[in-house]
Each structure stands twice: as C-alpha cells, then as structure tokens.
Symmetry: none
Subunit: 220 residues, 2 copies
Amino acid sequence: MRVLVAEDDDRIAETLNVSLTKAGFSVERERDGEAAWFRGDSETFDAIVLDLGLPQMDGLTILKRWRAAGRLTPVLILTARGQWEERVDGIEAGADDYVVKPFHVQEIVARLRALVRRANGLASSRIAFGKYLLDLRTMEVTADGVPMDLTPQEFKLVSYLVHRRGQVISQLEITEHIYNQDYERDSNAVEVLVARVRKRLGADVIRTRRGFGYALGDGY
Amino acid sequence: MRVLVAEDDDRIAETLNVSLTKAGFSVERERDGEAAWFRGDSETFDAIVLDLGLPQMDGLTILKRWRAAGRLTPVLILTARGQWEERVDGIEAGADDYVVKPFHVQEIVARLRALVRRANGLASSRIAFGKYLLDLRTMEVTADGVPMDLTPQEFKLVSYLVHRRGQVISQLEITEHIYNQDYERDSNAVEVLVARVRKRLGADVIRTRRGFGYALGDGY
DNA sequence: CGGTGGCCGTCAGCGTTCTGTAAGCTGGAA
DNA sequence: TTCCAGCTTACAGAACGCTGACGGCCACCG
C-alpha cells in the first residue's frame, strides 16, 4: 500500500510517517502543494493524506484538479479544528474522508485502511463517468459539483449502468434489477425511464443497441 | 446512536441498559454469543459492547468473525479483572477499546461516546455545525451560547445526522438508530420529528431528499 | 390523589412529485 | 417501402412528505 502524505509541518509528517510505516504502508511525502499535486497526478497511490493548508497550492485546489482529471485515488483530508466550512468544501471537492487536527494517529491509520479497502473492493462510494460523478453516500449525480437532481428510479438506473460500464444490458435485465419482482412483462417503463435520464444528463449518456439493450455512452 | 450490548449477566446488562439509554443511546441486547454474532453481522450498530465470556460462542471468536467479514463497527470489550492476556488478544482481534470488570458505568458511557465520535471522524465531544454547537455530554444544542432546548428525541435525531454529515440517511435508517427495535413499520414519526426539529433550528438544517431520505442542510 | 404540562406517537387531510401506462410517432434495418 | 423496436408525450393514480390536531403517557407538584 503506497501512501502520499502531503503535509508541510515536519513534526506531523514525521509522526504520520512512523505510524503508517509501522502499519505496513509505504510512505511518500511532499511538503508543498505544487509538488503534491504533480505527484498525485502523475503517479499512482493507494491513498493520499492531504493537508488543506499547504504552501504554493491550496489543498482544495489540488483535490479539485485531481478529480477534474479523473483521478479517483481515495483522499483523506487533514483540517484544523473547527474549520467546518473547510470540511464541507473538502467533501464537495471530492474528499473521501477527513480528520480534524489534532488527531490520533491510530485514527488516521484506521481510516486509511478503510478507504483503501473501500476503493479496492467493488464499493467505492464515488464513481466518475464522463463529466459526472456518482456518489452513493449522498445518492447524487453531480457535474462539476452541480447536482443533477435525479429521482430515485433514475438514480438506480444510472447507478446500475455505471456499475456495469462497458457492457450492453438488456431491458429485461434492467427491469429485474431496478424493479421489484412484480413487473409487467410488456411495459415500456424502461424506455420511458431511459428517456427521462437522457433528458437530464444528455442524450449521449445512454446508448441504445437496438435489439440488444442499453449501455453507457462512449466516453462514459 | 444504536448500541448492541452482548452480555449474559442480567444484572450487568440491565445496569448498562439504564445508563446508556439515559445517555441517549438506543440499546439492543443479546445474551448469547451466537445471537450476538448474528445481529452484529446482519444489522448496523454505531457501537457494540462485547463481553468476552459469552455462552454458545466466545467473544473473541465473534469479534474475529466480524472483522474478517469487514465489519468496522467500533467494539468495546468487557473483560474480567486481571485477565491481561484476554485484553491483548482482544485488541489484536480488532477491539477498539476495553474496560475491566467491575467497572463504573460512567466510564463505559464516556468510552462509547468517544468510540462513536472517532468512528465518525469527529475529534471533540462538542461538534459545530453551521451556527450551532452540539454537545454530546450535556445533550444540548446551542447557538452562540443560547440553548435551543431540544427534547431528547429531537436531540437524538440531530446528533445522528451530525455524526453522519455529508450522507443521505433513509427514514428506515433513522428509525433503526434512534428508536428501539419495536418500531412500527408504517408510521410518520420520523417526519413529525423532523418537522419539530426544523421548527426549532430553522427549516434549512435538515434537507429532504425526496425518495432517498434526509441529510444535514448545505452549510451544516 | 387529582391536576397540569411536556413529550411524542398517531391520524387524517393535503399538496407535490414521481412513475407506469397508453397511444401515437420515428427512424433504422432489411 | 415495410416493419417493429424504441421514442415521445400526456395523464392519472400512487407514493411521498408536510402539517395541525389529538390523546396517551409520565413526571412533577400542590
């Protein structure tokens, strides 16, 4: 497990380094924002610990850039006590978790483990597709942070397609997965639903494979 | 906050039940190991108090199974005085904290609160959200030092939402975590409760995500 | 012991939003 | 051109959540 620690305070960084190493992570460290952004953008880590108050480039900016570039590496944010707006901003910018300073190192370790597990397992709580971000925690699909206001059924459909990205899925399969068992065989409910999603997210999001079913559009 | 107490001794269990309930937890209890394991595996609790000496299935086994299955619920272990090895084993098996019998109930309460807080990434027992301050010890919500006089149920709701800030929580989840097991399936108790909290703290505090559930409002 | 007040779940009614259905239309494939 | 899978639109019933009123329950108090 490779972790990037982006933290300018030497004392904190050293504490993290010791504990994380002991916990079996291999730790890389950067002290300024620009360097941190570059490494996070060009290398692959299993998780990143990101202090919001970095010199050169602000932590939030870094995070947003990564997310905009489609980097899905789990990010744990370090924020000063009581800066709750920062936390909210951080989450909206795409942080997967945050910890308030001063913190217990054990906590960071535990949370990093959880993040990595979640990211490796099937269930990451945030999935990017095209310009959209699907968040299972908030049950939201956003484009650049703007919520798309999907209804429950619409969300289910998108969510299902995204989870099976790259595959063509028949109407029957869709029906079975997003409806209860008491569905009507001959019903155009799915077609209508697809139309509704297209109206919200754009016609390209769902591609029709006439005679076979539907799939996420190219580039999604 | 929903807590599972896995304890075979009726007297101890009852003591815990009373104190934890008074402290704002909703308590579920199991007396034997197998039942405890099953419930901890299949339901979600915010914390678990686990006696190591349970009939049917040993506490350590239970804990290991939960951890092996990826259950991250904070677990506080009850262990007999002087059983030093048990404690070590417990920690290695994935316990988050332990208390030695005989114990002061206050200590359990305090430690449980700390566990729940830590599990949710909150450092202090006083948590700010928006202009409000939530104090878990006094069970009070204040705005600029002015108490908002929430009733116990109202406080539970707010507290739960704050602990899970950033997530959308379904009515079912809310019911499960702030009421005891004997809840009515079809009841609008939660809706009414939400309305009452909004009347006190302002309509924005709780956002409705129609068809999904509730979440703390933007900026909280 | 009876009265009072606060808490809280239930209920009925209402407005809003969601969603499946139906009916007619479109467009791609053969 | 024909045909049919899929699209579009309108609509009505269902689902959802909000509100105000009510009453049971319990603690407190005279």
